[in-house]
Structure formats: C-alpha cells, structure tokens
C-alpha cells in the first residue's frame, strides 16, 4: 500500500528560535483516520499547518525535510499552493465562519475554484452539509448570517465548507474544542462516514477521544514522535513508557 502522505525527516523552527518539530517521520494511508496527539506544545498544530502550507505566511522560519502528498513534494516551488489547499482541506480549533450567509460560506471555496454553475454549487452545498450532519438544522435558513449559528453548528459548517471542495485529505485541528457532548458525538459520528471517502488527520480534544476515533495514532512530545501505531498498540499496549504514562493519565 502506498502512503497518501509521507513525512520524511521534517524539522521546523519558528522565527523566535523555538524548535517546534524535530526529525518527524510518518506515513499516513488512504482512508484512515490518523490521530496526532500529545500535550500542548508538542507540535501537533504546527505539523498540520505545514502539510497544507499555511505556515508559509510566517516570516523567518526554518524548515528541513520533506512532505510527500501522493508522492509529490508539497514544497515543490512549481506546485500551485491553492490547488494543494483544495486537495487538503482544514478545519480549525476555533470555528471560523467568514462574513456572510451560511450558503455564501459553503459556496465560497467553489467560487474561488472557478465553479460558476449554480446547480453544481447547490448540489455540492447540500451534499456536504448532509455529510457534516448539519443539513436538517440549516436547510431553511441558508441565507442567514453564519455568525448566527451555535458553536457546534459553526464547527460542522466549517467541516462542510472544506468537504464541499471534495478534497483528498482533511486536516482537523481539534474540531470538537468547546463543543458539548452531543455536538461532539455528532461530529465523531460523521467522521466514521467521512473516512470511507477521505483520508483524515485529526488532532483530538482528549486522549479519550483519540482512542475512540483513531485507526492509527502518533504520540508527539516536545516536537518529537514518541510512538506510532494502531489504535490497539498505542492505547492498549503502548511500548514506550512515556506513551503509557500519557494515555493512562499519569501526566498531561
């Protein structure tokens, strides 16, 4: 099986000299839900933002190593970064509705990609809202401001917004932070559906969530990978003492 994403010897240092990632190596396969977990400042978000090149916006950073997406280096200067970001969608910890209606938020990515046919846009908007388990709640008020949604609805709208582009990989940076248990369960449920079609890399809200949703997981600590393995291996029979301490709640 070839890897959807392979990360090879990736190191990353911020402008202030803080080393966020050190010699990261990992492979992520198609249609799996891969979880990156660990205490804060482990480098999880940094790693996600390097995969879709959102970290490009920072000045004065240092990066070495490579990230291959479908065997292509994402940092290849000839690669169209907007195309990359359409193939690798992202949902943030804090839901980020853009100014405008719910419908406008969903249609935005498609319009940016140059799709003008209203029928195609309408159809994809509906499908991705259904995939994100939000359609029934908003179908009668698609023209309302996206800011009028509740926190959980905003987060699911952001998920739908990245699905509308039919990406290959979805990066989820703590998509259930600040959500109530019911909304969290809704999001987690939709993840199981989504991985039939997409490859998902997720930073979870907690160790418990990580063990609930993961197919495979990587435990990160201070910018280094401690252990990578299947859900069983990481959460039931961890080999590294630090992984065991963290998943059993002895620190973190």
């Amino acid at each position: 099986m070839t890897a959807k994403l392979s990360i090879r010897d990736l190191s990353f240092t911020y402008a202030d000299g803080a080393q966020a990632l050190q010699h990261i190596n990992m492979e992520i396969f198609a249609n799996e839900l891969f979880v990156l977990f660990g205490p804060s400042r482990a480098g999880k978000t940094t790693l996600l933002r390097l995969i879709n090149r959102l970290a490009d916006l920072l000045d004065g950073v240092q990066r070495s190593g490579e990230i291959l997406f479908n065997d292509q280096d994402v940092y290849n200067p000839n690669l169209d970064v907007t195309y990359l970001r359409r193939r690798i969608g992202m949902v943030f910890a804090v839901p980020t509705p853009l100014p405008g209606s719910i419908y406008a938020n969903l249609a935005y990515g498609l319009e940016m990609a140059g799709i003008k046919d209203r029928r195609i846009i309408d159809e994809r908007v509906e499908r991705s809202l259904r995939q994100a388990a939000l359609w029934d709640e908003v179908k009668d008020r698609l023209q309302d401001s996206a800011f009028a949604l509740s926190g959980g609805q905003k987060q699911r709208m952001c998920l739908a917004r990245s699905l509308v582009l039919e990406p290959d990989v979805i990066l989820l940076d703590n998509p259930t932070s600040g959500l109530d248990p019911i909304s969290t369960a809704l999001v987690e449920e939709s993840l199981f559906e989504l991985k039939q079609q997409y490859t998902i890399i997720m930073v979870p809200h907690s160790v418990q969530q990580a063990s609930r949703v993961a197919d495979r997981a990587a435990f990160l600590l201070n910018g280094e990978v401690v252990e990578i393995g299947s859900q069983q291996r990481i959460f039931i029979h961890p080999r590294d003492k630090r992984t065991e301490d963290y998943v059993t709640g002895r620190f973190g």
């Binding site: 853009l98 935005y108 940016m112 582009l165």
Partner: protein
C-alpha cells in the same frame, strides 16, 4: 437582600475607616455628575452652534425668496444671492476628491497591510503619516506653483480649476484614509485569513472577499474622516480653484473650469461685509447649508456602519 449592618464583620472591616458608605456614595455622585456633564456638553455646544448659525442666517431665508437663493447668479453687490454656483462648485471639488482619494487610499492601504515587505512598510507608513501633518495651505501653495501650470499645459483654459482643487483635497484626505484603513485591515482576525486560504483562495481572493468585507466598518470610518477633512477645507481650495462663482458647462469638462466653493465664499467675503447686512446673513445661510450637508453625510455613513455588522441574531 442584606443591609450593611447585617454584613459579616470581616467584610465591614474591609471598608476604609475614613470613608463611610455615605461619603463614598457622595463621591460617586460627584464623579458621575462630572462625567455626565462632559457627555452632555458636546450635544449642548453643537446645539448652540446650530442656533447661532440659525439666528445669523435666518434673515436671509426670510428676505431673499427661495427661488432667488436657488438662482444661478451670485452677485452680492447687486443683491443677487444665487447659491447654486457655490453648491455646484463644492460638489464638483468634493466628488472629484473622493473619486481620486478613495480608490488610491484603499489600494495603498491594502498594499501596505497585505503585500508590502516589512522593511518597506516601516519606511512608507511614517512617511504617509508625515503627509498628514503638512499644513493645508502648503499643499494649496504646491497646487498653485506646481499643479496648476501642468493642468493648463494639458489643455485647460486656466490651471485653476475644480480638478486642481480636487487633487489637492484628495492628497489632504489620503493620509487619513490610508492610515485608518490599514489599521482596520490589521484588526481583521487572523482566523479569517486562515479560513479562506485553507479553502484554496489566493491571497488576492482572500483580501477581496474576506478581509475587506470584514474590515468594512473601519474602512467607512476612514473614508468619512478623510473626506470630512476635505469638505471643510477652505484656504487651499480657495487658492487653486480659480474662485469664479459660475456654474461650469455640463459634462466632464466641468472639472476643468474655475469654480468657487461654499467655504471659500464665506472665507473670502466675510471680512468685507457690513455686520447685519443681507449679504452677511446670506453668508451664514451658506454655513447652514454646509452644516446640513455634512450632517446628512455623517448620518448616512453611521447608518451604513450600523447596517449589518452590529446586528447579532440567532442563538448564542
């Protein structure tokens, strides 16, 4: 509700011994009154200004028929007080200034805030702010010596035209527009940019569709303050617009003929009229018209800001 007497002993001890409750309340009342007076004084002063304008200008509306005030001839010596040429002059100069300053100011701010490398921004921003400090009369002087000959050379009958005034006013409004717009762009949360970029928007698409709409109320304030400075400006405009109180021929060519603005008329003639004369009160009537125009302009802009961004609906 428990009264002070019933409050626990420990809580009572926390009160400073020199300031019993009654005295503290009294102090609160004084502070509150002072703050309230400050707040009301702004309204009172504006009302007084308007009443004063009305008192001095009202005779004009009583003695000169409205039809004459709307006339096209401004010959005060012959008791012809048609305000239309002045109104048209002011409009031409202001509209010209807005048309030049707003696009130029917004694009400069977008460039500064979004595209310029940090080192260039650090040079440009202070330079633009210095531009705001140049006395308006110096800009007017510049228009007289440098700009007017250019415009005449370009084919206008004279270099002192509405267009010359509009350019000078635009440059007067620019620093304010640029500086405040740039601040508004900077205040747009980083999450908006991330959200749009992560959807595969280009930098320009992100700015046009997300950052600018999000910064809209700040941008409207920037334009209001900038244009506000331009509308009220007198001396520089007086210097470069030629001061001919006639209505220019209709069409685009109107901008390349001399005009006279309302402000310039008041400034130029106020020193020469007899106090209490009809001419004197007509000048105040011009002030009233100006006041009403800026008032209407400001309320329109405030409504525009208050339009969508302030409204919060739905659930929390």
């Amino acid at each position: 509700m428990s009264t002070l007497d019933e409050a626990p002993a420990a809580w009572q001890e926390q009160q400073p011994s020199g300031a019993p409750a009654a005295k503290r309340n009294w102090r609160e009342t004084i502070i509150e009154t002072v703050i309230r007076l400050c707040g009301i004084s702004a309204v009172v002063i504006i009302t007084l200004i308007f009443l004063f304008l009305l008192k001095e200008g009202a005779p004009a509306f009583m003695q000169v028929p409205i039809r004459d005030l709307l006339g096209v001839r401004w010959y005060p010596i012959e008791d012809m007080f048609g305000l239309l040429p002045l109104l048209v002059g002011s409009l031409l100069v202001t509209i010209g200034a807005v048309v030049i300053a707003v696009p130029l100011g917004l694009t400069t701010a977008v460039y500064l805030g979004e595209f310029a490398p940090p080192w260039l921004r650090e040079i440009l921003k202070p330079v633009i702010e210095v531009l705001a400090g140049i006395p308006s009369i110096v800009l007017g002087f510049l228009g007289w010596v440098a700009l007017a000959p250019l415009i005449q050379a370009a084919g206008a009958a004279t270099g002192l035209t509405a267009f010359t005034g509009a350019i000078i006013l635009a440059y007067m409004a620019l620093p304010t527009i640029i500086s405040i717009t740039e601040d508004a762009l900077y205040a747009v949360p980083k999450e908006y940019r991330d959200g749009a970029l992560a959807l595969g928007a280009t930098q320009w698409q992100t700015i046009w569709r997300v950052v600018l709409p999000a910064a809209r109320s700040g941008i409207v304030i920037a334009v209001m303050l900038g244009v506000g400075r331009a509308i009220g400006e007198t001396m520089a405009v007086m210097l470069v617009t030629g001061n001919a109180a006639n209505i220019p021929a209709f069409g685009l060519g109107a901008w390349f003929q001399p005009v006279r603005t309302m402000t310039a008329t008041i400034a130029a003639e106020m020193g020469e009229v007899a106090q209490g004369s009809l001419h004197y009160s007509v000048l105040f009537a011009i002030g009233i018209v100006l006041f009403l125009i800026t008032f209407a302009f400001n309320s329109l802009a405030t409504r525009f800001i208050g339009g969508r961004s302030r409204r919060r609906g739905g659930q929390i």
